[in-house]
């Protein structure tokens, strides 16, 4: 049994320190995932809290030995997608952001510093469709393997690779002003 699984087992036995360890270890990753999808720090904070409370209440459903990280990310992904659907994410905000990116890109396209490009990429990810955005975030920002992403999203590895590749190319096109 891995260290993480042992901690989860202790948490299931009711040890508060184990639960606190899980919260402190994964809250940053979940917060960043939520932030990258919502691009709103307040929403990201709320979603992170909701996800962890949901995790706490459903931890007894976790089967020890299966991958806890994958299980947690799947739970987070489902929660964020539910939120996204309920919210009917504001298109006007995306359009506004798209315009902002394009103006920035055309005015400064050849003078971009690394920091500026990072900021544009961060905003550009927001413009991506959810089916490309989530795998891209999980791969490039969360550093998960293709197999893990495949399990989280419940789709074949080939599809994951294809979506991530397409997402990166779309992002590149957005930044070039082609989309």
């Amino acid at each position: 049994m891995s260290d993480l699984e042992e901690i989860v087992a202790r948490c299931l036995q009711g040890e508060e320190y184990a639960w606190e360890y899980i919260v402190r270890t994964f809250s940053r990753r979940i917060y960043n995932m939520a932030y990258q999808i919502t691009m709103n720090p307040d929403e990201a904070e709320d979603l992170t809290q909701e996800i962890f409370i949901k995790l706490y209440n459903s931890l007894n459903k976790y089967t020890l030995g299966s991958n806890f990280k994958v299980w947690l990310f799947r739970l987070a992904k489902n929660h964020i997608i539910d939120w996204y659907r309920k919210k009917k994410y504001v298109n006007s905000k995306i359009e506004e952001m798209k315009r902002e990116i394009l103006i920035d890109y055309h005015s400064n396209s050849f003078k971009d510093t690394v920091e500026e490009l990072k900021e544009k990429v961060r905003k550009g990810i927001e413009y991506l469709d959810l089916q490309f955005k989530i795998p891209l975030i999980l791969r490039d920002l969360q550093g998960l393997s293709y197999e893990e992403i495949s399990k989280i999203l419940d789709i074949p590895v080939g599809t994951v690779k294809s979506r991530i590749n397409r997402g990166r190319i779309l992002l590149s096109q957005i930044l070039r002003g082609e989309k």
Binding site: Q49, I53, L141, I164, S172
Partner: protein
Amino acid sequence: MKCDEVKELITIFLEGELERETHEIVKAHIDSCEICKALMKDSLRIMRAIRSIEPLPVPEKVVDNILDATTRKRFSFFPLFQPQWVFAFSVFVLSFFFFTYPKKALLFDPIEFKAHRAYSQVLKVVTKIDGVVDYLKVLKFKSISKPKEEEEFKREKKGAERVSISRDLKNLRCILF
């Protein structure tokens, strides 16, 4: 391989996640195609930019809120003993008994009748309790004295037999002499 097919694999190729054979084919195409080479450079730049985005620190209040909502604040019975809940519960219990009591008319009798009824009910209960106490005493006595009783009974039985035999003998003697 065509440019569109390479485009579908380009960033996976850059990550080295393609199968060896496919990797070689894509590489050969990129070496010979300026458009795909430019696409590769652009994709590489974007990938580097995405991966260089540092994760934001999670605000400490988020962690605190999570811990407060889960481990630190557990369910306690204490709130149930707050006055408003106690009052609500009392009202519920009293109204339940009032509405489900079959002889509601008796509730509006004069106080002397009610006192009399209450006294007779108490007497009944006391009598029942006495009955139970007596029964328990008997049970206790039986459990303690049973072996002794049996022995005494056997002894008495033997004695009675002896007496009856001696009486028979006496009778016989009288008859004979």
